[in-house]
């Protein structure tokens, strides 16, 4: 699990990019609330793509659309050219594996059993084969155990194979989740905040682990809050704000993009409210902020400013088609406040 080969591997695999994941115009509505709006995202083979955004930006909802937990209201998701089936177990069978934001291991099963469950879709024997111990049974079972042990070796948990998953320390539980997801031999691995609650050393270890996974030819899509982690790790980063994709590009582009800085740091706004804020009460704090911003860019921020206190409404009203045009900064001010607590 060394990282020295990573950069080389990344550049060579770029030579023949194949679209592993292709999400087009994914929109997810819950009643009146639009959690994800018209998001396009592609992940090529051998690529690590990051998805960042403030809390409530719709990252996990978008993730759930990719894994079949939700069926997108509009748009479609293709995996290696075929449209994803609408149920999560079929998505996994197709080749997309995932981990969860809150660890969801099978706590009362052993570490090895957890990985074997992950292997479920790649084993074919059913009840009869198990009860009658048909010829292939032992072989498949041994093969699965061997593969599971390989994976445990890979994440460095082989010595704890017989421990109960619930008794593992936090960091190892996270790793075990990754191993469990890898057990289904996925072509694309979706990681939902893999370093949440980890210290810098552990985060570093996860980073190396993800590079090693990529080197195995598995494309990775990562949701994270930790900026340093994501910009180190990813070949491409997409920023999701208010359910819409703000920008997508390599680390450099994204890091230097004003709107992203605004969304995460909210710096330009800090001056403006100080003159007006004392007069206003707290809930409408954002309203004066928006006009202040509007002065800079002269876009149609009025609608947003009016409904700035209600995010759902705002998202519905906001123009949907211009999410990639650089002139549009309409969404940025609204997210200044929620974004602040997330900056790494």
């Amino acid at each position: 699990m060394t990282t020295t080969t990573n950069q080389a591997g990344a550049t060579t695999s770029q030579a023949t990019p194949e679209k592993v994941l292709d999400a087009r115009g994914v929109t997810m509505r819950f009643g009146g609330l639009t959690a994800v709006r018209e998001v396009d995202l592609t992940v090529n083979s051998g690529e690590i793509v990051g998805l960042i955004g403030p809390n409530g930006a719709g990252k996990t909802t978008f993730f759930n659309c990719l894994t079949g937990l939700y069926v997108p209201t509009e748009g479609e998701v293709r995996y290696k050219g075929t449209v994803l089936p609408p149920t999560s177990f079929k998505v996994t069978a197709a080749g997309i594996a995932r981990t969860f934001q809150n660890i969801r291991l099978f706590g009362n099963m052993s570490v090895l059993e957890n990985v074997l469950v992950g292997r479920h879709t790649r084993m074919k024997q059913g009840l009869w084969s198990a009860v009658l111990r048909l010829p292939g049974f032992r072989r498949t079972e041994e093969e699965a155990t061997r593969r599971a042990m390989e994976l445990l070796e890979f994440i460095g948990l082989a010595h704890k194979a017989e421990h109960l998953a619930r008794n593992l320390p936090y960091g190892e539980q996270r790793k075990l989740e990754i191993a469990r997801a890898l057990a289904s031999d996925p072509g694309l691995l979706l990681l939902d905040e893999p370093t949440a609650g980890m210290n810098p050393q552990e985060t570093r270890a996860v980073e190396e682990l993800i590079f090693a996974i990529r080197d195995q030819g598995i494309a990775v899509l990562v949701i994270e809050h930790d900026m340093r982690f994501i910009f180190n790790l990813c070949d491409r980063v997409a920023v999701l704000v208010q359910g819409q994709k703000l920008i997508e590009g390599d680390s450099q582009t994204v890091q230097s993009d004003e709107r992203v800085i605004a969304a995460y740091l909210g710096e330009p706004i800090d001056e403006a409210p100080s003159t007006k804020a004392p007069a206003d009460e707290a809930p409408t704090d954002e309203a004066p902020a928006a006009p202040a911003k509007a002065a800079e860019t002269a876009e149609d921020t009025d609608t947003d400013a009016d409904t700035g206190s209600d995010d759902a409404e705002a998202a519905d009203d906001a123009p949907a088609e211009d999410d990639d045009t650089p002139a549009d900064t309409a969404d940025a001010p609204k997210d200044a406040a929620p974004g602040k607590e997330n900056d790494a």
Partner: protein, 611 residues
């Protein structure tokens, strides 16, 4: 605190600990206590050979000198156990192997067990015959000996836990709670055992011999329990086995036995079946084979339910209906004169019909409900159980089509005849007479073997892991590519057809099938509530748990007739107590044990989770 030597209870170590560690009762010096425990044990054994009462009116005839009978036999066994453990605590050569987890807690519990059984006997004699006057000197000797033994046992030193200091600002009630908590932790510490010594490396032939011996003891205990003839004896049996088993457990012997049986698992299971098959040969008449076959039916169905509840985590409250479906299906094609269908199929076909009918009903009930999560299934199955009974009641030709003969049921179901072997008549095998129920006992054993096979093999496979995964976390299981609905339906249908399988035999054993046999809750097992209780009491997800649970749940109402109306009350109280103190069931699954006693054994493993 001295370090714990290999046998911490050796006298040398005890004197060193004297100042720090005293027994539960403080006034006895440890040396005297140990001597008392040993002396009490020896004296108890001796007293069993004396007459305890003057009249044979007390059941079991305890008047004979030199020949222990009835309850005396139980006291004798416990007395011997106490003596052996006490000798082991002295470190006497040849008895050390008896207490691989330290002798003192075992001695303590053994003295308690001896005391309880003896004083129960003496009390029963006094009450039934009208006063302690009716005790012969032997009874008094036994009572005094066990009391001395108990004092000795309680006087044995143990390492006291660190107690929480009392907060002077507490109110009276808080202080009381505090003292009670401290007392409880001290009490628990008195029975805490050290780690079990590892078994020495042995020839596998020797290991197999040991397993055989363990199984023989188990068969002996079971046969004795089934054969108890009167209430006092059975109550004594419950006390003796309960506390005696706890003592053996504390000594660490059971854990070593479990290690051995785990090592030779297939062999142990085969051995257990052989031991069970030997049971009819230990009986002189068919009376107790009847109990045996009913226990087997009950246990088989409970084991089937364990797949559904224990492995897949689907709460099925109407499981007995599947037993009913199987039984009715078999009865309808049995050629019984009252069977409306009038069919007469051979037994193998009847078994198939019964299992398939249950399977179909299982799929019919499961398919619409298993897509839902949570409690819906429990409600629907509860309803199905009742619907089955009422529908069977109504399809009598007057209020509905004549399918099941209504509330009269299908009577006089003929006995089975497989390959010319008539199950209805007595056979003589190797000089032993095997009666009708014993014949069915063997057949039922075969069915149970099938269920055990299915349970073990399916549990240890891709599908079994999927069941457990779904029980643990359905969302995560789906994300692992498990088709939740399909896997759950398989569990449900499999459980149903196994119950149907047992039902086909049950119809023949009971001669008659009526709707009233298949209630949700009733005084006679099997019914849905008792089946679930057998699974939960015995231990969910384990193989032997439901078998033990079913045996106990069947024997206790059967043997304790005097409980009568209070039977269900006593049962409820027992269930509550068990759930409070041993929620993983009598036979704990390794997983469950950790689940419920995580705090005791794995401190703060997840402390970082909140970070």
């Amino acid at each position: 605190m001295t370090t714990i030597s290999e046998n911490p209870k050796a006298p040398a170590a005890a004197t060193a600990q004297e100042s720090a560690a005293t027994g539960l009762i403080g006034f006895l010096p440890p040396k005297a206590a140990r001597a008392l425990a040993l002396g009490g044990g020896v004296l108890t054994v001796a007293s069993c050979f004396l007459a305890w009462t003057w009249t044979p009116r007390f059941p079991g005839d305890l008047t004979v000198t030199g020949y222990p009978g009835g309850l005396q036999l139980q006291v004798l066994v416990l007395g011997a156990l106490t003596t052996l453990f006490a000798l082991s605590s002295y470190g006497v050569k040849g008895t050390r192997w008896l207490t691989p987890a330290g002798a003192d807690p075992a001695v303590r519990l053994a003295t308690i067990a001896t005391f309880a059984t003896t004083w129960f006997t003496v009390g029963a004699i006094s009450v039934e015959l009208g006063g302690p006057v009716n005790l012969e000197p032997g009874g008094v000797v036994a009572a005094v000996a066990t009391l001395l033994g108990l004092l000795g046992g309680l006087g044995l030193p143990f390492e006291r836990p660190a107690l929480l200091p009392l907060d002077p600002e507490d109110t009276g009630w808080d202080r009381f709670k505090h003292r009670a908590g401290n007392g409880w932790s001290t009490f628990k510490a008195a029975f805490a055992t050290g780690p079990v010594r590892r078994l020495p490396a042995m020839n596998s032939a020797v290991e197999i011999l040991i397993i055989t011996a363990v199984l023989a003891v188990a068969l002996g205990v079971f046969t004795y329990g089934v054969g108890t003839e009167y209430d006092e004896l059975f109550l004594g049996f419950l006390i003796t086995t309960g506390l005696g088993f706890a003592a053996v457990n504390k000594s660490g012997l059971t854990q070593q036995a479990t290690t051995l049986t785990g090592k030779h698992q297939n062999l142990s299971i085969a051995g257990a079946f052989i031991a069970a098959a030997l049971f009819p040969f230990t009986q002189t008449d068919d009376q107790y084979a009847t109990l045996g076959v009913y226990i087997l039916i009950f246990a088989t169905v409970a084991l089937g339910l364990n797949i559904v509840v224990g492995l897949a985590g689907l709460l099925d409250l109407g499981y007995v209906a599947f037993l009913g479906v199987g039984a009715y299906a078999a009865a309808l094609v049995s050629g019984a004169p009252t069977s409306p269908s009038g069919l007469h199929l051979p037994f193998w076909a009847a078994v198939l019909v019964g299992a398939v009918a249950s399977l179909i009903f299982g799929v019919l009930i499961g398919a619409p409900t298993l897509r839902l999560r949570g409690d819906y299934l429990a409600i629907v199955t509860l309803g199905f159980g009742e619907i089955f009974r009422i529908a069977v009641n109504n399809t009598d030709g007057t209020s509905g089509p004549d399918i099941t003969n209504g509330s009269n049921g299908i009577a006089s179901i003929p006995n089975l005849n497989i390959f010319g072997f008539d199950f209805g008549v007595e056979h003589t095998i190797a000089g032993f007479t095997i009666g009708r129920f014993a014949n069915y006992f063997f057949l039922m054993l075969l069915i149970m073997a099938v269920v055990v096979l299915v349970f073990r093999r399916s549990g240890d496979s891709r599908i079994g892991r999927a069941w457990v995964a779904i029980r643990e976390d359905e969302t995560a299981a789906l994300a692992m590519g498990i088709n939740g609905f399909r896997v759950k339906l398989i569990a449900f249908a499999l459980g149903a057809s196994l119950a149907g399988l047992a039902g086909t035999v049950q119809a023949h054993v009971t001669y008659t099938v009526t709707p009233e046999q298949y209630l949700f809750a009733g005084p006679i097992p099997p019914n849905s509530a008792f089946l679930l209780a057998a699974v939960v009491l015995g231990g969910m997800g384990t193989m032997s748990g439901p078998l033990v649970g079913a045996a106990l749940l069947f024997l206790i109402p059967n043997k304790l007739q005097f409980l009568g109306e209070f039977q269900l009350l006593a049962f409820g109280v027992a269930l509550i107590l068990l759930m409070r103190f041993r929620p993983e069931g009598m036979i704990a699954n390794r997983r469950r044990q950790l689940e419920f006693h995580e705090k005791d054994e794995t401190p703060a493993t997840l402390a970082k989770a909140g970070a």
